[in-house]
């Protein structure tokens, strides 16, 4: 019983690894489904969500809140989906979107550029070696910029993951074995405590997603369903926020109590 996120570059065989891990452990393997659900739920075209989570933000976008809102929508859907447990997620930024959840096994699959070019050539008919190389380099660059601008970290930084597996000498089947072995260890098993933490995280993400369009600078925490909403703004937006929060009590399941704290800095564990 675990949650596994597999981060990968394009054509790094990460998808194959994720599917095989899910099949071996009998877990669900999810990736694009999260975006489709978020698109349906929040009425945003899927292509916009893909761009928000894939492409590096432009200079103008860095000052706007649209992208953060889209990321909050995706995170909300992902948190709800993985809270049911037994999931392998190999979509974009899983390890960052689920940051702070202790029993998530975070894996990165890497491959040599040469191997990735060969895979790209075999999977995309008519693409030349040079074009495949340029495509992969651009893709890596976008990922790097995206992660740095939103989370201030480098996706190539190994310390973000529990395991980094280089698929070259190690084969896909070896990587699958290593991940399955790690996933069955005690610290990645879903205990009651971890389940509660995951449920709280899902509640906080849903509330954030519901508020982010109107109140971009809120931070949300939840402990046993007792939700605290933090905002740096003072009473100016107070009435509006209070009204919206009261509506949320009925919309989102699992909330015991809702409190709003005005004029306070956001705590580090806030969503």
């Amino acid at each position: 019983m675990a949650i596994i996120t597999i981060s990968r570059g394009s054509y790094s065989k990460g998808k194959e690894v994720a599917e095989m891990v899910a099949a071996k452990l009998g877990y669900d393997c999810i990736s694009r489904e999260v975006l489709i659900k978020a698109s349906d739920h929040f009425h945003i075209p899927e292509v916009k969500l893909i761009r928000a989570i894939h492409d590096a933000p432009s200079i103008l976008e860095r000052f706007g809140h649209k992208r953060q809102a889209f990321v909050a929508f995706i995170r909300s859907e992902l948190a709800c989906r993985v809270s049911t447990d037994n999931v392998v997620y190999h979509g974009l930024a899983g390890h960052l979107l689920l940051k702070g959840i202790p029993h998530v096994l975070k894996v990165r699959i890497i491959a040599q550029m040469g191997d990735r070019i060969i895979t790209a050539e075999s999977k995309r008919a008519g693409i030349s070696k040079e074009k495949a190389r340029t495509l992969l380099l651009n893709d890596d660059q976008e990922r790097r910029k995206w992660t740095q601008s939103l989370y201030g970290v480098d996706p190539w930084d190994s310390s973000l993951y529990d395991l980094v597996i280089h698929v070259h000498k190690l084969q896909v089947s070896d990587a699958v074995e290593l991940i399955c072995d790690a996933a069955t260890r005690d610290q990645f098993k879903t205990t009651d405590k971890y389940k509660r933490k995951m449920d709280d995280f899902a509640i906080a993400c849903q509330i954030k997603a519901a508020l982010v369009n109107q109140f971009s600078e809120v931070g949300v925490t939840s402990h046993f369903g007792n939700v605290l909403i933090f905002t740096k703004s003072g009473d100016r937006v107070g009435q509006k926020l209070k009204k919206r929060v009261n509506e949320l009590d009925k919309e989102i399941k699992g909330i015991n109590n809702l409190e709003i704290h005005f004029g306070l800095p956001l705590p580090p564990d806030a969503v």
Partner: protein
């Protein structure tokens, strides 16, 4: 049987895991004790060898000529030891120069960050924030060291087969993972991978012998053939080639010595301005 090379962001963590892996796999553990042999063989104080492995180049540090020479000595002795097989190697930067040897499993172990902070706080008697800054500073220095010494960033995960973070994974589990992984077929020594390692060892011996006299040499070996690349002025070309051939030819297992001398354009420019 295979070779396991372990690198880590903390010497202590790397050593601890290496010893446990060696015990579990029934291998020998080669660590910085090997520097004693290097020191005796080449008559260099052990302290200087340790500095070579830890300090990036600086004004106050060892000269780059000496650093490269000492690194060549360490490399030579380490590669000879790795030829013996069934070895877990740590603390000698082998992950940066044992390249293209398929039966060498390269693993990077990342320390539990909280544990590392606590250790640094206790050792240095500083506050948490300062300990974090110290750890980050050390990381930057290590990166500078690996780039200056081997032109490789040792933090780059593509230089390893496997990176394990001890933030969530227990040391005992990491040991088991490494021992299980080295059992995979790909890490069995093959005729070609053994030859690769033997070539590297021979090249290492020749380089260590030549570097005392010619600090800019690059050496490759293929069987008993040794290829040496160096730079010289046109007038010194013949003399340098002969000396290299003589010195390299005296080394055990060396058959043919090929010397490629390139124009030393910098020295030429300096001399033409005199």
């Amino acid at each position: 049987m295979s070779i396991i090379i372990i690198a880590s962001d903390s010497y202590k963590t790397g050593r601890e895991i290496s010893e446990k892996v060696a015990e579990a796999a029934g291998y020998d553990c080669v660590d910085r004790e090997l520097l004693k042999s290097v020191s005796e063989k080449y008559n260099v104080p052990e302290a200087k060898l340790i500095r070579t492995l830890e300090e990036p180049p600086s004004f106050m540090g060892l000269s780059s000529k000496l650093r490269n020479l000492y690194l060549a000595y360490i490399q030579e002795v380490t590669l000879s030891r790795l030829l013996e097989d069934n070895v877990v190697c740590h603390g000698l930067a082998a992950h940066l120069y044992v390249l293209g040897v398929s039966h060498a499993l390269k693993v990077r172990i990342l320390s539990d960050f909280e544990k590392l902070i606590n250790e640094t706080t206790a050792q240095e008697n500083v506050a948490r924030e300062k300990a974090i800054n110290l750890i980050k500073k050390r990381e930057t220095l290590k990166k500078r060291w690996s780039l200056a010494s081997f032109n490789v960033d040792e933090n780059e995960p593509s230089g390893y087969d496997l990176v394990i973070s001890l933030n969530q994974i227990e040391p005992g589990e990491a040991v088991k993972t490494v021992v299980d992984t080295v059992g995979y077929r790909k890490f069995e020594p093959m005729t070609y991978s053994i030859k690769c390692l033997k070539d590297k060892e021979l090249a290492g011996r020749v380089r260590a012998a030549l570097m005392e006299k010619f600090s800019d040499v690059k050496v490759q070996a293929n069987g008993s053939t040794v290829i040496v690349e160096t730079r010289a002025l046109k007038r010194d070309k013949r003399k340098k080639t002969e000396t290299i051939k003589k010195l390299a030819g005296e080394i055990k297992d060396v058959g043919l010595v090929e010397v490629h001398v390139f124009k030393d354009i910098f020295r030429q420019a300096v001399e033409s301005n005199r």
